[in-house]
Symmetry: C2
Subunit: 199 residues, 2 copies
């Protein structure tokens, strides 16, 4: 169901394909859900719950070092995604398609709030004294974000055509650590002795 909605959008999702994919009779679907609309709403709630509990609620927002915090967040997200990617795909799909505006009137507001709260918390209480001082800390945070996002999306894109059953994750993680250490070298204060940035 989630897959059908995610890949075709609400309007073009076919209940016939759903029951075929699920291997059940058409009657069942409309026995448990009185309409396609109700099914959609149920899926929505399920996905929001899943992502809230398996991803957002797991974030460690106390870690002052932004890079560590962000790295942990990435691992949590990846774990949740690998456990069940469909809620992510479903919500991303509804969000970018703007598919069901009057179907669930306050949906987009809720999604905005969800991500906005997540992001706000993500960027709150960061120890900016770790950063180099000659570039604005917001700029540094952006650079870290964009670097990690860019690396992630390119890595995921590269993995998409692979057989992941016996994939060598270690080298991927090593690559990620390399990226992080480069970021630290570039964006953080030089450790202790002789801060040659001049402050």
């Amino acid at each position: 169901m989630l897959k059908e909605f995610a890949s075709h959008g609400y309007a073009n999702a076919s209940t016939n394909r759903m029951v075929q994919e699920a291997g059940i009779g058409k009657g069942m679907l409309f026995y448990y859900f009185k309409s396609k609309e109700e099914l959609y709403r149920y899926c929505l709630e399920y996905c929001i719950d899943f992502i809230s509990s398996e991803y957002l609620a797991q974030l460690d927002l106390t870690e002052p070092d932004f890079m560590i915090r962000f790295k942990k967040a990435g691992e949590i997200k990846m774990r949740a995604y690998l456990q069940n990617p469909l809620p992510f795909l479903f919500l991303a799909s509804t969000y970018i398609r703007r598919d069901a505006p009057e179907l669930v009137p306050d949906l987009y507001q809720r999604l905005e709030e969800l991500t906005a709260n997540g992001l706000k918390a993500m960027f709150a209480n960061i120890d900016t004294s770790l950063f180099r001082q000659d570039v604005a800390p917001e700029q540094i945070i952006n650079l870290i974000r964009w670097a990690i996002d860019g690396w992630s999306s390119e890595t995921i894109a590269a993995l998409e055509n692979q057989d992941l059953t016996d994939y060598d994750w270690d080298s991927t993680f090593a690559e990620f650590d390399e990226l992080l250490s480069a970021l630290r070298k570039i964006l953080y204060r030089r450790a202790a002795h002789g801060d040659c940035t001049g402050e």
Copy 2:
């Protein structure tokens, strides 16, 4: 036509909507194109031609300073996009939907080649001696790419809900320049006197 294909994909694009949007009779479409498939192929060729001539062919690949080269490329792309955004949207749509695989068998290979050649040329003959030496130059190139990509997509996303008729572009460009100077400060060799990275 491009808009219809771009926003619905080949299968769900409606020839009825196309003729309505274009304000012509249904007959005309099938007078000039014998089928939806032929129309699609024509659109494809048109878009590839447009992007090749108005974007890829305009790139200045001699500029040794990567950041300047990339900045110019961004401006060229933006100019082409503003002149006619539909080819970009059309090709992006076909590429991500993987919509017409057996319709145009060698399509994806051609698109891969197009972008691959573009990217390869884009990253060839770069003067890496301008970069700081304590981080691998490929890593630096990636960081610049990701930063510019991230900034661009967030800026575009923010602009999408705006009225652009009398938008203040100067502040946007200024923001972009700020980003570039931060990148230069962070990723390039310190100019001349006292290179404190120690080589």
